[in-house]
Amino acid sequence: MSIKVVLPTAFTRHTDGRKQFDSAAANLPALLSEFDRTFPALSTQIKDENGKLRKFINIYINDEDIRFLGGDAYAFQDGDEVMLIPSIAGGRSYICFTIGMSGTGNARAVFP
């Protein structure tokens, strides 16, 4: 059983430039464990401090969001294309003060 893993360009700095590679992982948790061994820097980037996949990454199996297929429990099928796609969203709506000029101090406020 073999699946094809596809990464965004942003992750290739951790994979020696490889955007695609084959894997024999049986499911998503197994694939992430494989990253721990094969691409530890990638693993660090895509997992949070608790070892969970960061919430800003979506996983697609072929064209379908893995959450519609059972998530971690989904058993990869031979020939599956597993894509890691960054989530594109707005960030937190912070309002920022830049303190770079003399006299402005560490101004700070909390809304509302």
Partner: protein, 517 residues
């Protein structure tokens, strides 16, 4: 402070009460060659902070052409780097820049939407202290009757000369609709007449394309449920940019036509919006194009703030008690709130005793954010099934943040059926003379329900945001008006009289012989 770091820092103001305040990280160590020239040329407050951060160019989505397997070395040679390694697609600005909302790192200005380190979305942050005394009621009043009157708090590159009067749409007191749904102080923010393509998307596209030009893109694009497609196509044509637009195959014919007419390349995708969006992210990763809602998204999203600025100004520089906003990806509702907070901070409006409450509106057939609000759970993606196609995003990018914000401020979210959506369209048209698309039907119907449930009190100042024009979704009303295809009458007064009685449902008068009565 360690040697080699710039001697300043940022304090972050949270606008979500549930968020922890974060202190921005200083990235000024080890100035590398990538942006070294920018440090000297740019301003020290923004430019210098980003100058030292070493990023692989792959994060910038700058690929010139589709070369899936090319080596990084080849790629770097062909990307837009100067002989000194400077990235030509960024620019420095003293008023704003990109920052990560999670880790606080800052990135100057470039086509980038996610933090290269922690992958969190990037946001535009402003030097608000510097705007004090500059962004004032008077300065705004002297500006043009368009979103550009608020340019000081928009990420618009220095030197950009806007020539389209985008936005500044009417805010009308909706007394008849208010009487109908039980809200005596109801207002409609009418972006159904936004210039140039009759939806609020004109605002976000205007800001995104200002940056697309600055970054040097000659092709722009988007994934769209229709309104965005129309706006990107039109404004790209105006600016002389090429446009490539991706839409779900089942989009309303009017929205497809309203894209093609501007000469844009439109590609229909066999899937729903979430499939289209996923593909557009991949395309932006492979092609050197400016996708307004992918690699230009932080700039694009800021355009939505102008809805909030306008509401406040048109209410006489005060904030409403409630705002009802349609939700697709969940960005607009958050940006209106950001606008209100900026106005409070700058002293243009008085901080209300009770925070403005935000009410999100969705169609039941695609209601991931509404469900999350009502159940207090995380967003669970849905497969859309609703006539409100412009809101049909089953996996909303800003959904988690929108749901969190709504609840934190004492607001709520509701969703309505397709039948209620059509009724909402008709109610708004018949009471206020505003023909809105299905999304506006959602908003109107949700507002009615919120009033009926007592979540919005009758006397409170409430603004409902109508974001698109009904001429684009006339198919939603198919079958609602039988007499569209009714028999034509002869040009005779008697026939007209009979027709009128028929339409009114009154029976023909019986013929009475003279002298019987």
């Amino acid at each position: 402070m360690p040697s080699g770091r710039f001697e300043f820092h940022a304090e972050w103001l949270r606008d979500e009460p549930c968020d922890a305040t974060t202190t921005g990280q200083n990235l000024g160590t080890g100035v590398n060659s990538l942006l070294a020239g920018r440090k000297a040329a740019g301003n020290m407050r923004f430019g210098a902070r980003s100058a030292g951060h070493s990023l692989h160019p792959s994060f910038f989505f700058l690929r010139r052409s589709r070369r899936p397997q090319e080596s990084l070395t080849v790629w770097q040679q062909e990307s837009k780097l100067s002989p000194l390694g400077e990235n030509l697609m960024d620019y420095s600005c003293s008023n704003y820049e990109l920052a990560c909302g999670e880790c606080g790192k800052r990135y100057g200005n470039r086509p980038l939407s996610a933090c290269p380190d922690c992958l969190a979305p990037l946001e535009i942050v402003y030097d608000l202290l510097n705007a004090k005394g500059v962004f004032t009621r008077d300065s705004i009043a002297r500006g043009p009757a368009s979103i550009w009157r608020y340019a000081r708090l928009l990420p618009v590159p220095e030197g950009f000369q806007p020539d389209l009067p985008v936005g500044f749409t009417p805010l009308i007191h909706a007394s008849r609709l208010g009487a109908s749904i039980g809200a005596s102080n109801l207002y409609v923010k009418n972006d159904a007449v936004c210039f140039p393509t009759l939806s609020f998307k004109d605002r976000v596209v205007a800001v995104a394309l200002a940056n697309a030009q600055k970054f040097g893109f000659d092709t722009v694009g988007c994934s769209s449920t229709g309104n965005l497609a129309n706006s990107v196509a039109a404004q790209a044509a105006r600016l002389g940019l090429k446009a490539c637009i991706l839409v779900p195959a089942d989009l309303e014919p009017a929205k497809i036509l309203n894209t093609l007419v501007y000469g844009a390349r439109l590609i229909r995708i066999d899937g729903n919006y979430d499939h289209v969006n996923r593909l557009s992210i991949q395309i932006a990763d492979e092609y050197n194009w400016g996708f307004v809602n992918v690699n230009l998204r932080p700039y694009y999203a800021e355009g939505s703030k102008t809805v909030g600025y306008e509401i406040a100004e048109q209410l006489g520089w005060r904030l409403p008690d409630n705002v009802v906003v349609p939700m697709a990806g969940g960005s607009l509702i958050r940006k209106i709130r950001k606008a209100f907070n900026e106005l409070i901070f700058l002293g243009l409006v008085k901080k209300p005793a009770r925070p403005v409450r935000f009410f999100g509106a969705q169609a039941t057939g695609c209601s991931p954010i509404s469900v999350a609000v009502k159940t207090g759970t995380d967003i669970v993606p849905q497969r859309p099934n609703t006539i409100a196609r412009s809101l049909a995003i089953g996996n909303p990018a800003d959904g988690p943040a929108a749901a969190k914000m709504i609840l934190a401020e004492g607001g709520w979210a509701e969703d309505v059926s397709d039948i209620e959506i059509v009724s909402g369209i008709q109610e708004l048209a018949e009471t206020e003379g505003i023909f809105t698309e299905t999304a506006g039907g959602v908003t109107t119907a949700v507002a009615a329900r919120l009033c009926a449930e007592g979540r919005i009190a009758p006397g409170e100042t409430t603004v409902i945001c109508i974001t698109g024009n009904g001429l684009k979704t006339t198919d939603a009303l198919a079958g609602r008006y039988d007499h569209i295809d009714s028999r034509a009458i002869r040009p005779r007064l008697a026939d007209f009289d009979a027709c009128l009685r028929s339409l009114d449902g009154t029976p023909e008068p019986e013929l009475i012989a003279a002298g019987e009565r």
